[in-house]
């Protein structure tokens, strides 16, 4: 299933006002909850983006094992099984966490996110905050470009070196 098919599926479900839907085949498993979360996990799940760093024992919360996008229905991280056609290697610059802490997509809970997928950024623009011990570290974009992927959910813990964004 390619992203276009997925988009068609989502549109069809939207038109029919279906709230929940799941489909499992040998190649993939799709489950959709409209209005909230979209999960598209392949079997076995392989995340297309850079590998996660090793997780220490004390990691406060598990990193998602399936590619997950929780924002909008069109905002889907595609995962692929080994049987699919070879996936193009990730392009663009993967920006990693420079410090351990908690990832925030916005300056405060009521504020709009600094960036979204598709946002154009200049190098030096603040794209997220990582909090450690009440120190709010404003993280600036390392390169200019377009935000291709956001790999961490708001208010989740991140490890040093964990990929946060793909900027292209």
């Amino acid at each position: 299933m390619d992203p276009k098919d997925l988009k068609r599926l989502l549109d069809a479900l939207k038109d029919a006002e279906v709230k929940e839907f799941s489909l499992e085949t040998a190649e993939y498993k799709v489950s959709v909850k409209r209005g909230a979360e979209v999960v598209y996990a392949a079997a076995p799940p392989v995340i297309v983006t850079a590998p996660q760093p090793p997780q220490p024992l004390a990691q406060p919360a598990a990193v998602a094992t399936a590619a997950t996008a929780a924002t909008a229905a069109t905002d889907v991280v595609v995962a692929s099984s080994a049987n699919d056609a070879p996936v193009a290697p990730p392009t663009g610059h993967t920006q990693k966490a420079p410090i351990v802490g908690t990832f925030y997509a916005s300056s405060s809970p009521d504020a709009a996110a600094f960036v979204q997928v598709g946002s154009k950024v200049e190098a030096g623009k603040v794209i997220c905050i990582i909090e450690a011990m009440k120190l709010m570290n404003e993280i600036e974009a390392e390169i200019s470009g377009t935000i291709k992927e956001i790999l961490v959910k708001n208010a989740q813990p991140v490890e040093y070196g964990q990929p946060l964004f793909v900027i292209e």
């Binding site: 024992l57 004390a58 990691q59 406060p60 919360a61 420079p98 410090i99 351990v100 802490g101 908690t102 925030y104 300056s107 405060s108 809970p109 009521d110 504020a111 030096g124 603040v126 990582i130 909090e131 450690a132 011990m133 009440k134 120190l135 709010m136 570290n137 404003e138 993280i139 600036e140 390392e142 708001n154 208010a155 989740q156 813990p157 040093y160």
Partner: protein, 308 residues
């Protein structure tokens, strides 16, 4: 002379605890007594703690006026924003902005820090710590320990130092809080803005703030002397921290009232669980043993002390 200029000159002539008569001020500035009176009203409206009496006018005896490196404002949105502007320029370390009142004082994640005029010490300082980012998380612990040392040295009342840097009353209400903001570029902090809020005078706190004031526990706190103690303590401990960041850990451990305590952890994703605070990690995270025996490290969120 324009009103604004009169106001600035009157401010420059007034001192904490020393009466200056309206006549003398008027004569010195070459303006009318009414102009002096208007200037005093204006300064008071801005938030400055000015007293008037038979002797004339003066700043309250403990007004934090005339401290080197500290810009003293009557009111401001947030001292954090002011200090950040200084940091983006070439302000030296420990340049500070203090305001008697903040209309938009803030804490973690958009929370309000209530800052009415004359009630506390609300200030932000510029720091440029040249330490690895992996050590930067120890700076907040250091600040909490310094606040406690300075308050204890002046009043003999120490409060409880909670991870990471809150100072609590014995009943758990918050006396002082710290917020830090940094801009990270290419793996290094361009600067850190350190915000400190201390509730000194008794005030009507909304219940949900769970706040307390120092003077509920120790009377007649001199705010200016307290601020000078804090700045001295910070300078000494910050120098040690730059030489050896782990010194902050030792200091915090020696003073904290968190380790060994039963705690409730409320994480930024709204999940919550109970455990026992067992240790502070080398990067400043709090290691908590959950009720099921698992060891978790907390880097952000609310840790409250439970009474068991």
């Amino acid at each position: 002379m324009p009103d604004l200029e009169v106001t600035q000159k009157v401010m420059a002539l007034l001192e904490p605890g020393v009466w200056r008569s309206g006549e003398a001020l008027a004569a010195q500035l070459g303006v009318s007594r009414v102009s002096v009176w208007k200037a005093v009203q204006k300064l008071r409206a801005q938030g400055y703690p000015l007293e008037s009496g038979a002797g004339g006018y003066r700043f309250e005896v403990d007004a934090p006026l005339g401290i080197e490196g500290v810009t003293y404002l009557g009111s401001v949105g947030s001292t954090m924003d002011q200090a950040r502007n200084l940091a983006r320029g070439d302000a030296p370390e420990f340049s500070a902005v203090l305001s008697e009142r903040q209309s938009a004082g803030r804490g973690r994640r958009g929370r309000v820090w209530q800052s009415p005029a004359g009630s506390g010490l609300y200030l932000s300082l510029v720091l440029r710590p040249d330490v690895p980012l992996s050590s930067l998380g120890l700076l907040p612990l250091l600040v909490g320990a310094c606040l406690q040392r300075a308050i204890d040295a002046q009043t003999g009342f120490a409060g409880v130092l909670k991870w990471s840097n809150d100072l609590l009353a014995p009943d758990g209400r918050k006396l002082a809080g710290v917020l830090l903001e940094s801009e990270i570029e290419d793996g290094a902090a361009k600067f850190v803005v350190l915000g400190i809020g201390i509730n000194v005078r008794v005030q009507d706190f909304p219940l949900d703030l769970n706040a307390a004031a120092l003077e509920e526990f120790t009377p007649n706190v001199n705010r200016k002397a307290l601020l000078e103690n804090i700045l001295t303590e910070l300078r000494v401990q910050y120098e040690r921290f730059l030489e050896s960041p782990s010194s902050a850990l030792e200091l915090w451990r020696s003073q904290n009232g968190t380790l060994g305590r039963a705690v409730r952890v409320l994480l930024p994703d709204s999940s919550s669980w109970d455990g026992t605070a067992v240790e502070v990690a080398s990067d400043g995270g709090l290691q908590v043993q959950t009720l099921s025996g698992e060891l978790k490290t907390v880097f952000a969120g609310d840790v409250s002390l439970r009474h068991t």
